[in-house]
């Protein structure tokens, strides 16, 4: 297991956002995290990403217990998070966005060609097609932007990639592109945690599904064994 979350609880005032939550993420597997609005999905990934501190519980990374107190801790462990608002600079080109905050340079002078070649190789290896990576991100489609954001997460050589609603604002074709990209992350042996509202996407791309309901675990399924009705029942709590 790349990441094991045990007994995580988090309370916001009167709201118990998470209660004794458990989550296992394995290398080379896409785990979908699903649940209704307010189920605690965002809170859980914020705990994993070090944005929010849990009240109690333990996290182990590659078998070792770890403390994730700041986003930096998560990053240095090898946990990359792509938030729903992609945090790209529209005015900068694809290369500059990929290396944002991690620019390669010689004594402060940008290594344009080196960065562009690395960017080109990375995007090609992910089969992301962008005609001219020297164009500003503002000129890209939603799917291309999502792909750039995911590719950027990969530059830090992570072992776990967390994707928050990566297809929420995309059309059919672009969703297919991004799902294909998620499969490629799995082929690279990465652990992927996918948060999504769209059960069709989840069933199409995930290996396992973890359901949260009202801040608690409400079921773990192998995607091959599950069908839409079972998952919906777990999400809504309709099952007796």
């Amino acid at each position: 297991m790349v990441l094991q979350v045990r007994d995580i609880s988090k309370r916001y005032g009167a709201v118990q956002a998470l209660q004794n939550v458990r989550l296992d993420l394995a290398a080379g597997e896409v785990t979908a995290l699903v649940g209704d609005n307010g189920a605690g999905k965002s809170t859980l990934i914020k705990v994993i990403a070090g944005v929010v501190a849990a009240d109690h519980g333990t996290i182990s990374f590659e078998g070792r217990p770890v403390r994730i107190n700041r986003p930096h801790d998560a990053q240095s462990l090898g946990i990359a998070t792509v938030y729903q608002d992609l945090a790209l600079c529209e005015n900068l080109n694809v290369v500059a966005n990929l290396f944002l905050g991690a620019e390669q340079h010689h004594g402060g002078l940008l290594r344009h060609i080196h960065m562009e070649r690395t960017a080109h190789e990375l995007l090609t290896s992910l089969d992301v097609r962008i005609p001219d990576i020297r164009q500003p991100v503002a000129t890209l489609s939603g799917g291309q932007r999502q792909s750039v954001a995911i590719a950027r997460a990969l530059l830090g050589q992570p072992k776990l990639v967390v994707l928050d609603e990566p297809t929420a604002s995309l059309g059919v074709e672009q969703t297919a592109q991004v799902l294909a990209l998620i499969r490629r992350l799995r082929e690279r042996g990465l652990a992927v945690l996918l948060i999504s509202h769209n059960l069709a996407d989840v069933l199409a791309v995930s290996d396992r599904i973890t359901v949260l309901r009202l801040g608690r675990n409400a079921g773990d399924y192998r995607t091959d064994d599950a069908d839409q009705d079972t998952i919906v029942a777990a999400i809504t709590g309709a099952r007796a």
């Binding site: 986003p71 938030y83 992609l86 945090a87 790209l88 600079c89 529209e90 005015n91 900068l92 080109n93 500059a96 944002l100 905050g101 991690a102 620019e103 340079h105 402060g108 002078l109 940008l110 344009h112 060609i113 080196h114 562009e116 070649r117 080109h120 001219d132 020297r134 164009q135 500003p136 991100v137 503002a138 000129t139 890209l140």
Partner: protein
């Protein structure tokens, strides 16, 4: 980004052509070498202040204190060198330091206290002018010696051989670097733009430089002041596009939250831009004092600030941050100064001049706003 530049530069170049033709037809002196030389001398100081304005516009911020800071720095330099008899170099250095310190202070007030930049720098506009008046005291005017270094700055003309050498050197260096870049890109397996697309701008600028040298050579030659101003424009442009710091200024201007999450120290970048703006304002103030060979109570005052801001925007720097190049200051001040100069030649009252400049500014901002609306990422 290259595509954006052409969109951004076309209206202002067209505007310059219209201005040249109009005033050239209305008054035979407008395009005469002597008048064009004066134009170059007139635009260097405000153009340098405008260059500083570009630095903060890139962040989507504004610095209203730049005019006052330019005047204050000039007064500091003059008092130190004339009244206190400090060596000129030391006086200039301390004046620039004053500018840098003021910019840093304003940047810190903006970032730490979260005060809007226009309020911080509006206070600066009033406060630093107050300090200027206080320092000048009752005298009101201090003259700089005509034969001194500072006055000489704007009374020095390059001999023809030197102008041609500098221009040739610049073009050769630019061509060599371009050729090298293309070779490196090819070996790296990266796409290379068509040769003519790389060569055309170089040839265009070469022709422009040659024309300028010939034209100004018919009068007293290329003024040193113009060389200083253009060098600053080019150096800053290279710095912004090819250094980590420059890249981060664009990033913070484009999306501060994205920059922050990427680990960029957004506040440090902002303070740096404000410090750079005020330092350039100080340089501009010294150049203005050089032209006048004096400082007085209106140093850095009247319409200097507004012209500097208008120039940056007319030249194509976006008010919304993240877009623009330093050439905006050069082109914009050329537009404004040409209008001013042409109307003075035609004996048009300054009331009309202000209204025309306002019209040009509105057109420029309209183009900026429309470009922003029209861009695919306008939602942000």
């Amino acid at each position: 980004m290259s595509q954006r530049l052409t969109i951004g530069i076309t209206p202002v170049v067209a505007g310059l052509a219209v201005i040249a033709v109009t005033f050239g037809l209305l008054n035979e002196h407008f395009l005469a070498p002597e008048n064009l030389t004066n134009l170059m001398l007139q635009m260097a100081a405000t153009g340098t202040i405008s260059l500083g304005i570009v630095m903060v516009l890139l962040l989507g911020e504004i610095d209203l204190s730049a005019g006052s800071v330019s005047g204050l720095a000039a007064v500091v330099m003059t008092i130190l060198s004339v009244n206190r008899h400090l060596p000129v170099a030391a006086a200039i250095a301390l004046a620039l330091l004053t500018g840098a310190a003021i910019g840093t202070l304003q940047g810190v007030l903006f970032t730490r206290l979260g005060m809007p930049s226009f309020v911080v720098t509006l206070a600066g506009l009033i406060g630093w002018q107050g300090l200027l008046l206080y320092l000048l005291g009752r005298g009101g005017t201090i003259n700089l010696p005509f034969t001194g270094f500072v006055a000489k700055l704007s009374d020095t003309w390059l001999p023809a051989w030197l102008s041609w050498s500098i221009a040739a050197l610049a073009i050769v260096a630019w061509s060599a670097v371009t050729a090298l870049q293309r070779r490196l890109r090819e070996t790296a397996g990266l796409p290379v733009t068509a040769l003519w697309r790389a060569a055309a701008p170089i040839a265009g600028v070469a022709a422009l430089l040659a024309g300028t040298i010939v034209l100004l050579g018919a009068d007293r030659g290329v003024p040193l002041l113009l060389v200083l101003f253009v060098s600053m424009v080019v150096a800053l442009d290279l710095g912004l596009r090819h250094t980590v710091i420059g890249q981060r200024i664009f990033a913070v201007g484009g999306n501060p939250e994205a920059a922050r999450r990427a680990g960029i120290n957004v506040n440090a970048v902002r303070v740096l831009a404000f410090a750079a703006c005020a330092t350039l304002a100080a340089v501009g103030g010294i150049l203005a004092a050089s032209r006048l060979a004096a400082v007085n109570q209106s140093s850095g005052g009247s319409d200097i600030l507004l012209m500097a801001i208008a120039a940056a925007v007319i030249g194509g720097a976006s008010l919304f941050g993240g877009r623009g190049r330093t050439y905006a200051a050069l082109l914009g001040i050329l537009v404004i100064q040409s209008i001013t100069n042409g109307m003075l030649l035609l004996n048009v009252d300054s009331s009309i001049r202000f209204m025309v400049t306002a019209g040009v500014l509105i057109v420029a901002v309209a183009i900026d706003s429309l470009a922003r609306k029209g861009s695919p990422g306008a939602a942000r």
